[in-house]
């Protein structure tokens, strides 16, 4: 299966076309095609994972993989570590230009396999969920077609064997997110959100494209393996790799919703909830993190991660953790709380990559996919069954009685997100923090701990507002149907157990063992599990939950914090500042967009009026003049004159010549004899005289 990994993205891509062309005629309106294709892809991903694990095990116990070629010295150095397991690369030439081959193929290793499982599994659950959630939508079939294309694009990005192919997948993901965020485009707000998401991520994509170009000219190849090997080779040009890393980082910032280009992500909530779940958990935003993980040696060398201190990647991630988490407090829309939470959590992953905690970052991507999908789908379930399609938490409250399954699963997701032992989020987040500390990034360890505190607190607020207190809505809340609750239960189960896979104290380090590449990959230090830090982070989260619960559960009474924002000027100013999302949207929309739009549109109008219209009118006038000149002079005089003149002259000549044609035979004879006489004379003169 490792050699035929292309099937995994191909199936949903085929499903896209099948749904598009035949979906409406099928009994389930095309949903079944998407679900079947995704199920097969999921099964194939599992098979690929098993094959990969076999491959790693075989290399460890057997001939020690490539190690055998390098002799004993290498073996001694690698003792206690895994043998080098080369990724399975299949590539065919797509086209050749100027001697450069543009290949298309697959690059399968542990990271790829892990991503394949996450994407296909979450996609599958989202599809099943959507059959109920989108049941009455007028563009139901188109929705499934777009979802299939979305998953296919993400899978293409994941299996890509070279950066060009990655870029193709990356852009397709962006396009699909545009289609799906603006799925209900009848509302102007939704289509604006879609355009915003598209343009904001495009801003980052420019960076990505430039980064890929720099990498190509540095390395001389687009291949993932070649790029990574080059970055680790002793002769690598550090300055060029730094430039490439910065450009790629801009791409990651755009796609993964990192500060300062995160503003599109909350607006992307305009799309249907399953889309939000897909964007936030399995596709789109993790694309940036995946890129960072895939081309990690480039960043490792470019940003000198080994040296510790501060680098762009860790800094961006750290800032994003905090600003995302703080903003989540002032949201009234449950999906926006989750959106800012995603921004913050992706910040953890980027920071994890930035501090050299590769395994932890990828592990966090893995666990986060499950509990964030769970939370989004739970929020969707709340609006589906509880509030009649509203996401405003002011219309919720007390739903735990009406929607027990949704409540319990949402609670599990929240606890996992908050990093409570022993749920999934605890293991991965703790691993990032421990590694940040042990790699010499103490600042980011503290940032991470503050983030953990904030995360626990805002999730408590969110859970309280949604499920506790009195019901404030105007609908009849009821539990959602099985197609919605079953994916929730599955994801809740995964949110509980997913963390065990790489739980160091239990002796399970499957991610380090199988996911971390051994081929063309820096030697990262893996921190030991640190009990004090783990206890510290859990207790921080617990304290946060306690404080938040105290505040929110008691806030009906006269708590000391009640009405703080009304009473205290500073707090009020802070609240306003947060409400306006640090004024970043104002900066982008009012200052930059309007600033550009105003003068540019005025200039464009002026250019339009004066230059373009002038050119067009001038061209028109000139054409008219040339035309009339041509008509009057050339056509009428020259052409017609020639034709008429010829006819006239012919007539005149005929008139003259008709006199010769007298009809009198003897006159003809006279001409005949005269001509003969002249001829005879001529012969006489020339021959005789």
């Amino acid at each position: 299966m490792l050699e035929h990994a292309w099937l995994i993205p191909a199936l949903p891509a085929v499903a896209f076309f099948v749904i598009l062309f035949f979906g409406k005629r099928l009994p389930k309106k095309g949903a079944e095609v998407g679900i079947i294709a995704m199920t097969i892809s999921f099964v194939l991903s599992i098979v690929a994972a098993v094959d990969w694990i076999d491959r790693v095990n075989a290399a460890d116990t057997g001939e020690h993989g490539l190690g055998a070629f390098f002799g004993k010295g290498f073996m001694a150095a690698a003792e206690g570590e895994h043998a080098v397991v080369a990724p399975v690369v299949k590539s065919v030439t797509w086209w050749t230009s100027g001697g450069v081959d543009f290949g298309v193929g697959t690059y399968v290793d542990g990271l790829t396999v892990m991503m394949l499982i996450v994407v296909t599994l979450v996609s599958l659950l989202v599809y099943i969920y959507s059959t109920a959630y989108m049941h009455d939508d007028r563009r139901y079939t188109w929705f499934f077609a777009s979802l299939s294309l979305f998953s296919a694009s993400m899978l293409t990005l994941v299996v890509a064997s070279n950066t060009i192919e990655m870029l193709v997948g990356w852009e397709l993901v962006g396009l699909c997110s545009f289609m799906l965020i603006g799925f209900w485009w009848e509302d102007r707000e939704n289509s604006r959100a879609a355009i915003k998401a598209f343009l904001t991520t495009r801003t980052g994509d420019i960076g990505l494209m430039i980064g890929i170009i720099i990498l190509f000219f540095t390395v001389g190849s687009f291949g993932v393996g070649a790029t990574n090997s080059y970055a680790l080779s002793p002769g690598a040009q550090h300055d060029l790799l730094l430039a490439a890393s910065i450009c790629l980082m801009i791409g990651i910032i755009g796609k993964s919703g990192q500060f300062p280009l995160h503003t599109w992500l909350p607006d992307a909530m305009a799309g249907p909830t399953p889309v939000s779940a897909l964007i936030h958990a399995a596709t789109m935003v993790v694309a940036g993190v995946y890129l960072g993980a895939r081309l990690y040696p480039v960043f490792y060398d470019g940003f000198s991660i080994e040296a510790g201190g501060v680098n762009m990647m860790a800094l961006i991630g750290g800032i994003t953790i905090l600003i995302g988490a703080v903003l989540a407090f002032v949201q009234r829309d449950i999906k926006k709380v989750l959106a800012y939470s995603t921004i913050s959590q992706i910040g953890y992953m980027v920071m994890g990559l930035g501090v050299g905690a590769w395994v932890a970052a990828v592990f966090h991507l893995f666990t986060h996919a499950f509990f964030k999908a769970l939370l989004f789908l739970g929020a969707g379930s709340v609006s589906h069954g509880g509030t009649h399609h509203s996401f405003d938490m002011r219309e919720m409250g007390g739903l735990r009685k009406y929607m027990p399954i949704t409540f319990w699963t949402f609670l599990i997701g929240s606890l996992a997100l908050a990093g409570i032992f022993p749920l999934a989020g605890f293991w991965s987040k703790d691993e990032i923090l421990v590694n940040a500390g042990s790699n010499g990034f103490d600042t980011f360890l503290i940032v991470g701990l503050i983030g953990a505190f904030l995360t626990a607190a805002y999730m408590t607020r969110c859970v309280y507002l949604t499920f506790f207190g009195e019901y404030r809505g105007h609908a009849q809340p009821h539990e959602s149907e099985p197609a919605i609750t079953i994916p929730l239960i599955v994801l809740a189960g995964l949110s509980i157990i997913a963390g065990i896979i790489n739980a160091a104290p239990l002796g399970l380090e499957k991610f380090t063992e199988y996911v971390e590449p051994t081929f063309a990959f820096p030697d990262l230090v893996h921190a030991e599990f640190d009990y004090p830090k783990a206890i510290l982070s859990v207790s921080i989260a617990a304290v946060a939950i306690g404080i938040a619960a105290f505040y929110w559960f008691r806030h009906e009474e006269t708590g000391p914090l009640k009405g703080l924002t009304q009473r205290n000027k500073l707090a009020h100013a802070g609240y306003t500042f947060l409400e306006n999302k640090y004024y970043l949207d104002h900066l982008y929309e009012n200052v930059i967009v309007d600033g550009i739009r105003g003068p540019v549109s005025a200039a464009a109008y002026w250019v339009n009026q004066h230059v373009i219209d002038g050119v067009v009118n001038g061209a028109g006038r000139t054409a008219t003049r040339v035309g009339s000149f041509a008509y009057d002079t050339i056509d009428q005089r020259v052409v017609d004159g020639a034709v008429n003149g010829m006819a006239y002259e012919t007539g005149e000549a005929g008139e003259e010549l008709r006199k010769v044609q007298s009809g009198k035979v003897q006159r003809y004879a006279l001409w005949l004899f005269a001509a003969t006489g002249v001829l005879a004379l001529a012969v006489f003169i020339t021959n005789v005289l």
């Binding site: 006199k659 010769v660 044609q661 009809g663 009198k664 035979v665 003897q666 004879a669 004899f673």
Partner: protein
Amino acid sequence: MDINQFLILSAFLFCVGIYGVLARRNGVLVLMSIELMLNAVSINLIAFSAFGREVAGQVFALFVITIAAAEVGVGLAIVLLIYRNLSSPDLDEVDQLKG
């Protein structure tokens, strides 16, 4: 005998014929003038044949006589038809092909 005498006779006859063809208005006389011209040519041929000891010229003269007979036959038929149509043998009136 000198060949010039025959040539002068021949030329005279030919000129009479030309005059007749160009100047006479009666179709029959035009035909007769043509006969004169033909005979003038025949005299020329025979004269050169006799003086040049070459028999081909006389044979040619015989052909001319034969053709002339046929030509007169056709020519008289044409003149007869003209006369029937126009009740006159005057060639000046035969100008239907005037341009």
